[in-house]
Amino acid sequence: MSAAPTVRHIPDRLDKALTSILLSWESLLVLVAVAIFIANSLASPYFLDAYALSDLTFNFAEKALIALAMALLIISGEIDLSVAATMALTSTLMGFAAQFGVGTFGLVIIGIAVGLACGVFNGFLVTGLGLPSIVVTIGTMSLFRGVSFIILGDQAYKGYPESFAFFGQGYVWGVISFEFALFLVAAVIYWFLLHRTNFGRRIFAIGNNQVTAQFSGVRVKRIKFILFCLTGLMAGIASILLTSRLGSTRPSIAQGYELEAITMVVLGGVSILGGAGSIIGVVLAAFIMGLVTFGLGLLNVPGIVMSIFIGLLLIIIIALPILWRRFGWLIKA
């Protein structure tokens, strides 16, 4: 008997050296998050409290849920600016249904269905008609929120069923809120989807080179369509949470959420040009944004001033690696 033929094992990825892990985007984010956490606990005596930290999660869970799906969409080279408007439309239609005595279960179904429908509409315009997503979603952003304004005007919907309040205000286990638990579960699902499935590999392939992906047998349009649907779906879910937390709906609900969700994605190391990024990065970025806004809130810093910090954080954290690379190149030359 001859020996079994030796099989040459070719790893599909090279083992990462410790230094490259240390220098990765995610480590940078962890450092920033830890630094902000320590600064916060030194700055305010109220910060290190289980309930305060639990409140913190309400700050970002809704936007972060959208950011998870948005990350996949941006990696594939598209973008969806209409997510906040989708939330407004979803919330309005849920409020409309609630006026007719639709129960909690029915409202959740409506929320998911409307969000999904908005995603399908965007997906059809972008992949079906071949239009650029950035302007399409600027258009649907006006359209979706505009429909909310037509339905509601300057009125507000209240009177949601009592059991509906659970999604935005309830706790699953101890101080772990339903919103936070849902975000963690969703993060694991999206991590698996992006980093452990063929579908995820195809998203990266599309983002890196759409033409090559097409010729390699990737159904580019179908995958992009699914991603738009997922983003709409997550916006619908986020809308259920936000509506439940606020207990009322105005057409201006969730204004500006789209920019915050995109900021999370970009801060998380996802390339705005597509083709690169990780879910872990997005989750870390969500925590950083939550920590910054919550910590500054405890110090009585107004929300609008916090936005300066978020904006600076976004630009600096993206500029740093670019400048670092340039700096290093200068030393070698």
Binding site: L125, L129, G130, L131, P132, I134, V135, V136, I138, G139, T140, M141, S142, L143, F144, R145, G146, V147, F149, I150, L152, G153, D154, P251, Q255, G256, L259, I262, T263, V266, I272, L273, P302, I304, V305, M306, S307, I308, I310, G311, L312, L314, I315, I318, A319, I322, L323
Partner: protein, 325 residues
């Protein structure tokens, strides 16, 4: 190519004329010269902003920070006016344009020298500029009674029967038309958008051209900052919140391709007028103003579909697009 552009603007002008005609059936006074002049005056600020945005979009970039820039510069001049009423109005306008230019140059420098994608840069500066407005004002408003009469009235003065606000818009339109079609810099803005690789081979500095485009949009946002504050006589952090999307919408409806290189001054003006007429017409024909957002949203989507069709008729690409690292 030129014929398509011509058809495009003529087509948009026909739609606008048809809209005015239809509204006039419901309300005969709508098409009167006075009312149309009023609408143009109302739309002047949007036209000025759309031209700034257009120069950025033509270079394949986008400026989301224009409305925040407007808000910041408006607050600066309003506070200057409130604390030093003696400063002549021309100085204030120059200050507004200068501050706007600086803010635009910051965007441009981050795009050019650091190499961050424009959408990320302006997403960041959008929040920074608006937040800074809160910081310099301490969250307070500057009301009409704190502004000097010249500050408020300057743009309402009629010259040959046309308000200064409208004249400013007309002047900016003329300057832009000459700049974009008759100067090397203006042509290089188009060249960068049509084919960046070919533009580099012809000796155009892409980064610098984008920098200039951002400076232009900043300058015009600054000018619009003064005009906006003196028109609505209130300066607050909320001024023009979300208006950046209206500006982009005006450009898109006007046929300016978000992919860069395609567009005209006439298109940007007509796109702005389209939105201006809708917002002025709704109360006249007894439709709740709450319909406006949905209507402009539908108009944007409709316009993109048409844009995409005309863009497909482009000439053959001889030089392949280079891989951008």
């Amino acid at each position: 190519m030129k014929d398509i552009f011509k058809i495009r603007e003529v087509w948009l002008a026909i739609v606008i004329a048809a809209m005015i005609g239809a509204i006039t059936l419901r309300s005969p006074s709508f098409a009167s010269p006075i009312n149309l002049g009023q609408i143009f005056n109302d739309t002047s600020i949007l036209i000025i902003l759309a031209l700034g945005q257009m120069s950025v979009i033509l270079t394949r970039s986008i400026d989301l920070s224009m409305a925040a820039n407007l808000c910041f510069t408006g607050m600066v001049v309003a506070m200057l006016n409130a604390s030093h009423p003696g400063i002549p109005i021309f100085v204030l306008i120059i200050v507004a344009m200068f501050v706007g230019l600086i803010l635009g140059a910051i965007n441009g420098a981050l795009v050019w020298k650091v190499g961050i994608p424009p959408i990320v840069v302006t997403l960041g500066t959008l929040t920074i500029y608006r937040g800074s407005t809160f910081v310099i004002s301490g969250g307070k408003w500057v009301n009409a009674d704190k502004m000097s009469p010249e500050f408020i009235n300057f743009q309402r003065v009629d010259i040959f029967g046309i308000p200064v606000l409208s004249l400013t818009a007309i002047l900016v339109v003329i300057v832009f038309q000459v700049f974009l079609t008759r100067t090397p810099l203006g042509r290089s803005i188009f060249a960068i958008g049509v084919n960046p690789t070919a533009a580099v081979y012809t000796g155009i500095n892409g980064g610098r051209t984008k920098f200039v485009a951002f400076c232009m949009s900043g300058l015009l946002a600054g000018l619009a900052g003064y005009l906006w504050i003196s028109r609505y006589v209130i300066a607050s952090v909320e001024v023009a919140n979300g208006y950046e999307l209206n500006i982009i919408a005006a450009c898109v409806i006007g046929g300016i391709s978000i992919a860069g290189g395609i567009g005209s001054v006439g298109g940007a003006v007509l796109g702005s007028l389209f939105l201006g007429i809708i917002s002025n017409a709704l109360p006249v024909i007894n439709i709740s103003p709450f319909w406006q957002m949905a209507i402009s949203g539908s108009a944007i989507i409709f316009a993109i579909v048409l844009n995409a069709r005309s863009e497909r008729k482009q000439g053959r690409i001889i030089l392949k697009k280079a891989e951008t690292a």
